[in-house]
Each structure stands twice: as C-alpha cells, then as structure tokens.
Amino acid sequence: MKALVVLGVTLAASSGVAAPPSRVLGIPGKPASDQCTACHQALDEPRLQKPAVLATDDIHYRQGITCAGCHGGDPQAEDPEAAMDPKKGFMGKIPPQKVPEVCGSCHSDASFMLRYAPNIPTDQLAQYRTSKHGLALAKGDTKVATCASCHGAHGVLPASDARSPVYASRIVETCGRCHGDPSLMKPYGISGKEIEDYKQSVHYQALVVKNDLSAPTCNDCHGSHGATPPGISSVSNVCGTCHLTQREAFDSSPHKDAFAAMEQPACEACHSNHKILPPKDEWIGVGEGQVCGTCHSSGDRGAEAAQAIFASLNGTVQRLAAARERVERAERRGMLMDEALVKLEEAHQSLVLARNEVHTVDPQRVAAKTSEAGGAVAKAEKDAEAAEAELRFRHNGFKVSLLVILLTVVALGAKIREIERRS
C-alpha cells in the first residue's frame, strides 16, 4: 500500500501537478455535491454560471470529483472567500499551458484511474507531448489544442457518448473548428482545406452519412493524443491497417521501391490523402485526369501496362453489366435465373479481386482475375441464352396450338355448313 502511494506520488510529480487530494473527491460512481455548483448556478453572469450548469453532466462530476478537483480550493466552504482561497490551492481559470498537466495529474496515474475505469489508457499526456500540439505548446504557443479544446472543459463526456465532441462521427467537426480555418492554419504551413477535402472522401461518406463508426476519421490516421501527420514512409502502413489486401499487392509491385526511391507516399500518390474519392477504373491511364500520368507518359511501359489493365477491367465491367441486364430481363419475364445470378455474383467477386490486383500494376495478374470473371459471365450468358431459347420455344408452342385451334375452327365451320345444307 505504501509502495503504491509512493509510486503514485512519483508519477504525479513527474507531470508537475499532483493528483487532487481526497477531500475534493467523492465516492466513485456517485455524483459529487459541492458548494461551487450550488453558488455558481445561481449567478447571473453567464461566464460564471454556465460551467456550473454544464458540470452536472460532466463525467468527472458524476464520478464524485468536484470542481475543486481541477480548480483547487475548498468545495464545501460556503463563504466564497474561503472556498476560493489560493492558500487552499485555488487556481481559477486554468491557463492553456497548464491544462495537459492538470488533466494528466489523474489521467496519467494508472493506480488512480483504476478506481474509475480499469481499462482506460493512461498514456494520453505522454502521447500529447509528442504531438504537434504538445510540442508547440511546450514552446509557448497557447493557440494550439489542449485537452479541453477537443473534449470540452466543463461537461466532459466519454468518447463513446454520441453527444461528445470526440465521438467518432463528430471528430471531423471538432478538428475542423481550427483546421477548417485557413487563416488560422496559415502560420503553421497547413492549407486548412483538409477538412473540406475529407468531407468528399469515401471515409466521410461511410462514417457520417452511412454511420459506420468503424470508418476512419482524422484521429484514425493521425493519432488522437499524439496527433501528427504520418511520415511518407508510414502512409502505406497506416492505410494498410485496414486495406491489407491492397497493401500486400502494392508491396509486391515494382512501385514499392520506385516510390520509396522518389520519396513518394505510396497510397496517397494516386488516392490523395484527405480527399479519398471512390476509386474508378477510369483513373487508370496516362491521359488527363488519370493517375498514372503523374509519372508515366504515353508510350512507356507503365502507360502500356495501364492501358492493358484498364482494357481488361473495363471489358469485364461492360460484359458483366450486359449479362446482368440480360439475366434480369429473363427473370422479369418469369424464368428461373438463380444459377445465372450466382454466376454473376461470382463474376462480381472476381472483378473486385481484379481491382485489388491493380495495385500490383501487373496486367497479367489483373487479367488472371478478369478472365475468371469472364468465365463466370460466360456461364451466366449461357443460362440466359437457354432461358431465351425456352421463351422462344413457348412462343412457338403457342403458335402451333394457335394453328391447331384455327384448323378446328375451319373444320367446325365446314361441319356447320354441311349440317345446315342438309336441313
């Protein structure tokens, strides 16, 4: 026990600010009650009243940590003078450069945090100090983001709470408050367009529009507390954490060494970094608006490979679409096309795999997959043909029966005439 306390003190000391004393802490899991909120909520001045109102929803307050936990002072004193006595450690508004230390006084203390959230990481402050934000703050730049800039100062909510500004789908707006402002970003050599670019990306579509929380937002590539741009060499690692197949394909391609030699970022060269649009087969080529043209030009080996790759992809796409149209038409006309539909799905799957192989930039590997797709399409076409033949057969069957019926009509007509002539 003593050893633990000593350890805790040492850790806290390393961050410069000690963990709050037990008198400002309540019982974990039970909301705090103190004089600070009681008085401040009754104040007229919004600047002083609002923090107290927000505090009641705050995760810390709800876990029994009073205002004094961060601001110091005596939370139980009714007399404002006594409550906000600097001798009792009262700090008032915490200056930006001190915010990370204040938060870190608890959040870097593993044994302290264990009481509240056993699984929560305690390396945020260490990470923050390596981040662009932390480095700039250390140099005295107080405009950069600190803990409160993203998490809020009062009314802090856990990141898993959808109302929190650091909830996955809201992060882009939170970062965008600064990074979306070009004038604010200019001194740092950042364009300020990244947010707008990201909003056009497939990732934003998946995350915010389709509400797929596993899709990446700012912090998934840049890190959360250790926010920093990934280096050129690590871009493909970052993308590859999710896009493993494409990364493996790329790593086996001649591009890997070539890009490294030219100090080109791997994925970003074609897909861009923030404005990652849904990829199109039409990008492949050296023409205007095509990605290979950045390095290759018409006539070289790369251009030829690009042309071959595009031709096999596009040919398959066209054929697949035509076959699908044909199969669906037969299905609408009432034919059983299950087998053909399965074949079309197989073809679609091979096409998806062929698009993975594009990253090898090897036309033969792409063609191997597209010819698989072509084989499946051919089978579906055969089914469609059989269905069309069956429809034609029925059509002709009707024509034959039509003839038989008409013949009966003629025979009956003759019979009637014969009978009527008799009488």
Binding site: D212, C242, L244, E345, H348, Q349, L353, L412, K415
Partner: protein
C-alpha cells in the same frame, strides 16, 4: 379443305360421302388435338413439381454429420448465399454469406476460427459481427433448427 373440294368436283356420286367423311375426320382430329393441347399442360401442372414448395424462408442447409467443428459450409437461399458455421465448440450458426462491404461471398477460415471475406480481408467473428477490415455491418443472422441430422436455416425469423 382444298383436297375435299377437288374430290367433290370429280367424283360426283361418292363426293358427298367422301366430303362428309373428310370433314368429320378433320374435325375429330383437330378437336382431339385441341383437347390434348389443353389437357396435357393441366395434367403436368397438377403433378407435384421437382421442388415441391415455393422457396420460402426456410431451407435444408446441410447435414450435421458433414459439418465437423471448426468448419463452415455455403448454402443457398434461392440465388443468395448463406454460410453455415460449426464453431470450434460444436455449436451450429448460420449467417448471410454476403459480405456487407461489397457483396462478395464470405467463407469460414479454420485457421482464424472465424468468418473471412477474401475480397478486402474483412473479418467477422462467430456471431457474424464485423471485427476487422472494411465491412461496415455485421452479417445478417439466420435461425438454425436441427432435426436429427438435418440442419434447417430460417431467414427473417
């Protein structure tokens, strides 16, 4: 008809009988053909077809004896693939085999002990939940009923 008329013109005495006979023959044959053409399809229609039931939301997906623990099997709901999984613990579960990312067909990977999609390396756990890679949603879960050795899978239940 034409033949009959011709006959009627040449053989004066027999013509009436021949003509009448021909008309009767023609009428009988064509009427018979019409009746057969109408009744044969009906006869075939009422005989039970090869697949006795309209594809409902339930299929016989496989046999328990053919599905040892830590294996999977693809079955079909009409044109849509489903995946039957026998967990290493021996439990049988069924999911839609359509990957929620780009509609590829997923498979069971004995080495990972979970479901995997080859297209973009998407991983799903044994509850069908997307755990790694690009799939945005879990796989749709189907209900499994085991009757003797038969595994029945019910969709939308």
């Amino acid at each position: 008809m034409k033949v009959a008329l011709k006959l009627g013109g040449t053989m004066a005495s027999e013509s009436k009988v021949t003509r009448k006979g021909f008309i009767n023959w023609l009428l009988g044959t064509s009427l018979g053909a019409t009746v057969v053409a109408a009744l044969y399809p009906v006869f075939r229609y009422v005989l039970p077809p090869e697949v006795a039931e309209a594809p409902t939301n339930r299929v016989l997906a496989g046999k328990l004896s053919e599905l040892p623990p830590n294996t999977g099997k693809i079955f079909r709901f009409g044109a849509k693939p489903g995946i039957l999984v026998r967990t290493p613990g021996g439990e049988v579960r069924a999911f839609s085999a359509i990957c929620t990312h780009l509609n590829c067909t997923v498979q069971y990977r004995a080495d990972f002990q979970h479901i995997w999609c080859a297209c973009h390396n998407g991983h799903y756990d044994l509850q069908g939940k997307n755990i790694q890679g690009p799939p945005p949603r879990p796989l749709e879960t189907f209900k499994v009923d085991i009757v003797g050795d038969d595994i029945y899978v019910t969709r939308g239940a």
